[in-house]
């Protein structure tokens, strides 16, 4: 009896805790889970994303929100581990106030969350999931990628490299040891093989994500003396690598490609000599002609710099562009529905084949839910206006030329690339 009573009491408390039941019509606010790393070594990349989210959501809310409804972000730290992330996603998804998710940063979490989102029928926009495996085997209705994938991102690195150094013989790779790093290594090698079959890969190192020291790897790279060192290290790993490798003159002996280098330019860029190839995996470069020509972008950059005491890096733009894309999707759905508040299904229907302007260019969502974004690559150059180097000799490769068509196997598609492809593309320095 006593047990029963306490059970009833518990149930009551639980019911009281339970958020309001599903509403019809316009909600009081749009709950939105925002997943990014705010702890761990990956936070060096995740925090700029979070900062941008805060800022953009403030701006959207200040201008009346989406269709008159304000966004209420719920930030989730991916640093807690995948099971925690999935648990949190489920918890947020169970709350009908939450209508969309912005997830996630790491490809591991993306791969874990995508099927969950599908199960729970939760519209989810992948703000930073680059791994091409996301849509490789699985088809999703509720999952969209609002940025580019590894395939165009690292093909772009090779194209730029071959444009500036056509006669390379040997390359070494140092990437983080997970899907993103492995995919990038594979794409880089396959593209090289297709375009310059006689280039030899002399070393492939995959240090664990979050390694504090790369000193032995640096020695090995120095001992191997390759013409080119390619790396898609990022976050604190990339900072550490640059800090440890630069004084040991690694950047002077070999041509180095830091495919995600722009994100650390303001922090450790002064250690880099001129001419290190730098990527933004996408088009999110704050000093790009597109961004500088866009008033909203300039405002974003200025506010960001004032608040966070640095310029937004490309992860900030990935997040900002995703949020503006989600806003565009809502607006499209509202327009289609004649201002009836969109259901989740309405939302994903609106996302299909969306084309929208972003702060740094444009984003197109294809029928396979993948995003098309141009790729900017450049090389370090000193800039008197800033205490850190910026990207010079830039090129902007159009997304359409670098992205495999819907339904093709990307690696097989890369294998079919022709060396004369380089002639048809814009040249370094062309993007001014």
């Amino acid at each position: 009896m006593k047990h029963l009573r306490s059970m009833a009491a518990l149930a009551f408390v639980a019911a009281a805790l339970n958020p309001a039941y599903a509403q019809t019509g316009k909600p009081a606010e749009i709950g939105m889970g925002v997943f990014t790393f705010t702890s761990g070594p990956a936070a060096a990349y995740g925090m700029p994303g979070r900062n941008a989210a805060e800022l953009v959501i403030e701006k959207i809310n200040a201008s009346g929100g989406i269709g008159g409804v304000k966004i209420k972000p719920i930030f989730v730290d991916e640093g807690q581990g995948t099971d925690g992330v999935v648990a949190e996603f489920r918890r947020l998804a169970a709350d009908s106030n939450n209508q969309a998710m912005i997830a996630a940063l790491s490809s591991g979490n993306c791969l874990a969350l995508a099927p969950v989102a599908e199960q729970l029928k939760m519209p989810t926009f992948m703000w930073n999931c680059d791994t091409h495996q996301l849509f490789l085997k699985d088809r999703y209705q509720y999952v969209y990628r609002t940025n580019s994938s590894t395939v165009p991102e690292f093909i772009a690195s090779v194209l730029y490299l071959l444009s500036v150094n056509p006669n390379i013989k040997t390359v070494a790779i140092i990437n983080p040891d997970y899907a993103f790093g492995r995919d990038a290594g594979l794409i880089f090698k396959e593209t090289l093989k297709a375009l310059r079959p006689n280039v030899e890969v002399v070393a492939e190192l995959y240090p664990k994500l979050g390694s504090p020291s790369f000193n032995t790897e640096i020695s090995r790279l120095a001992a191997t003396q390759p013409d080119v060192i390619f790396s898609n290290l990022w976050g604190a790993d990339l900072e550490n690598f640059v800090r440890q490798a630069a004084p040991r003159q690694l950047f002077e002996r070999s041509k180095v490609i830091l495919a995600l280098g722009e994100s650390v330019l303001q922090r450790v860029g002064t250690l880099l000599p001129d001419g290190v190839i730098i990527g933004v995996i996408g088009d999110g470069w704050w000093k790009s002609p597109h961004a500088q020509a866009n008033a909203q972008a300039k405002d974003f950059i200025e506010t960001y710099r004032k608040r966070f005491n640095e310029y937004p890096v490309f992860p900030s733009f990935k997040m900002a562009n995703t949020l503006y894309a989600v806003k565009a999707i809502y607006e499209k759905a509202l327009a289609t529905n004649k201002n009836r508040w969109p259901t989740r299904e309405d939302l994903i229907a609106a996302a299909k084949n969306l084309k929208t302007e972003t702060l740094t260019g444009s984003l197109a969502l294809r029928e396979d839910n993948d995003g098309l974004v141009d790729q900017i690559v450049g090389a370090t150059v000193k800039d008197s206006a800033h205490p850190f180097p910026v990207m010079g000799q830039m090129v902007r490769y159009p997304a359409s030329l670098l992205t495999p068509p819907v339904g093709t196997d990307p690696i097989a598609w890369i294998g079919k690339l022709k060396p004369d492809m380089l002639n048809t593309l814009p040249k370094p320095g062309a993007y001014k």
């Binding site: 518990l10 807690q80 099971d83 918890r91």
Partner: protein
């Protein structure tokens, strides 16, 4: 006594999610961790502390993923059984070496083996998916393919049945000659040898049993989350399992589950209210329990229960 408490806990865990659905998932995770912590608690009976049992937790989870992916086995109950068997076998093999060590060395060697396993899971990208991990699809149930939502309910209630079953079986085991011999290892191994009993064999059986429990817990977790990563075997998870066992109280088998439910709930709320400080909360809770509640949370329940029953 055990029966009453464990069924009470299961009832609460069954009823609460009716009002707050997402708690169902949290509770399923708690059962998964609780099973593994129960394994750790079994070893603690023998005075052995393992800071490496996340190894078996992960073995169970990865066994499930591999069996589904490579062997095409999709039947839920069969997967539970086979994954537990795999974890038990790994436990037996590793256990043969572990039983030679005691105290700190036992703890550290378990840690080392689990870290080797963790590193291999992270490094063998082409086999294990590296740090990205592997997906665990929705299994079939007696040949039927349930929807994910249906399966989640099955898992949620099924895991509570597993919890009751595991608690009762372990309780029986700990009261048996073999189980009592395990705590005898702790208090006087020399005497045990002088009874003609091999302390190592007693420990080996306990070790295999604890691996089985951890493996079962890992499998439940794998099904619940639907995606598994090497972090499942990282040493901080092992530490958490010991923490759960001690937090709950190793005095009785429900302790591990009480500890697990407590931890998962605290974690869930902490993520919302003090995302950056949830470890602090857990750490302080742990220290309070150690210094002020030597019998753990279960001891607390036990004590108030006793007081209540005296007229």
């Amino acid at each position: 006594m055990t029966l009453r408490h464990i069924i009470g806990l299961a009832l609460i865990a069954a009823v609460l999610p009716l009002a707050v659905p997402w708690l169902g998932f949290v509770f399923t995770l708690a059962v998964g961790k609780g099973l593994a912590a129960l394994g750790v608690a079994v070893l603690l009976r023998g005075g052995l502390i393992s800071i490496g049992h996340a190894l078996y937790f992960a073995v169970g989870a990865y066994a499930t993923a591999f069996l589904m992916r490579n062997d095409g086995i999709n039947e839920f109950l069969l997967l539970l059984l086979l994954s537990t068997v795999v974890a038990t076998l790994v436990g037996l093999v590793v256990g043969v070496f572990m039983v030679r060590y005691r105290a700190i060395f036992f703890a550290m060697l378990n840690l080392a083996v689990s870290m080797v396993f963790f590193t291999l899971l992270s490094k063998m990208y082409h086999v294990t998916g590296g740090t990205d991990g592997l997906r665990v699809a929705t299994p079939t149930l007696f040949g039927f393919a349930p929807s994910r939502v249906q399966f989640n309910s099955v898992l949620q209630y099924g895991s509570l049945i597993l919890m009751i079953g595991a608690a009762l079986i372990v309780d029986r085991y700990l009261r048996s000659p073999l189980g009592e011999a395990l705590s005898a290892v702790h208090s006087n191994e020399v005497r045990l040898e002088y009874l003609g009993v091999s302390a190592r064999r007693v420990i080996l059986i306990a070790y295999a049993a604890s691996a089985a429990l951890a493996g079962l817990g890992g499998t439940v977790t794998a099904f619940a989350v639907g995606h598994i990563v090497p972090e499942l075997s990282y040493w901080t998870i092992s530490g958490q399992l010991v923490l759960i066992a001690v937090l709950g109280g190793i005095g009785g088998t429900p302790g591990a589950f009480i500890g697990a439910f407590f931890l998962e709930l605290v974690r869930t709320f902490a993520v919302g209210f003090a995302a950056d400080a949830w470890n602090v909360i857990i750490g302080i809770a742990l220290l309070i329990v150690i210094f002020f509640l030597p019998e753990g949370l279960y001891g607390l329940l036990h004590r108030t229960g006793k007081q209540g029953s005296t007229p």
